[in-house]
Symmetry: C2
Subunit: 100 residues, 2 copies
Amino acid sequence: MIPHMPPEADTTVLAETFRLLGDPTRLRILFYCLEAPRSVGDIAESLQLSQSLVSHHLRLLRGARLVRGNRVSKQIFYELADKHVSDMLADMAHHVGEDY
Amino acid sequence: MIPHMPPEADTTVLAETFRLLGDPTRLRILFYCLEAPRSVGDIAESLQLSQSLVSHHLRLLRGARLVRGNRVSKQIFYELADKHVSDMLADMAHHVGEDY
DNA sequence: CAAACATATAAATACATATTCATATGTTGC
DNA sequence: GCAACATATGAATATGTATTTATATGTTTG
């Protein structure tokens, strides 16, 4: 089965997603939230990042529907938006380090 | 089975790959070469890009071992470097447009 | 409602990078 | 070796964006 090239509009959307995954800081945030929902403060402290920086990145990730946040009293816990996203990240994590 | 967070060095490598996939022009080039090996001139003409721009992008993709080129006389035909890369792109192409 | 806490936003800056234009390198046929 | 073709590279520019600093918004508790 020969794969078809997606139309230009779709490649643009896809590239936008890849672009967001293409920043080391954001990727670390995503992997950290992959294991469990994490509050902004937890992310910042655990990954040694400023609260502001984490919030900025989360906004971008939210905008692309890669993560979603649930408020629990004062804190907001972020997790990957859906199984589609988390599966993809998990796959990537598996592939890292494999020979090719 | 709970996925583990890859160490920071690995996320850096992975982010670098995602970053390269995160440019619309590069992504179009990759999808075009996914169907068949393509010469630089073919890519430039088909995707309406300058020869120089295509060459620049191919250099980056080569550097990350996402594509490889085979010279056939004057032309150089580029294809995805391995099944791992092409599978990932094909998967992504499938997922584009799906609900989530 | 005020104070304390958690998160978000705005502006500024520094840095990265996509694209263009010009030129160089490499390959083939005469 | 020279001309024609195909690809690669270098420098310059313009645009994008990650990070910081400072401040604002929202939430709970007394």
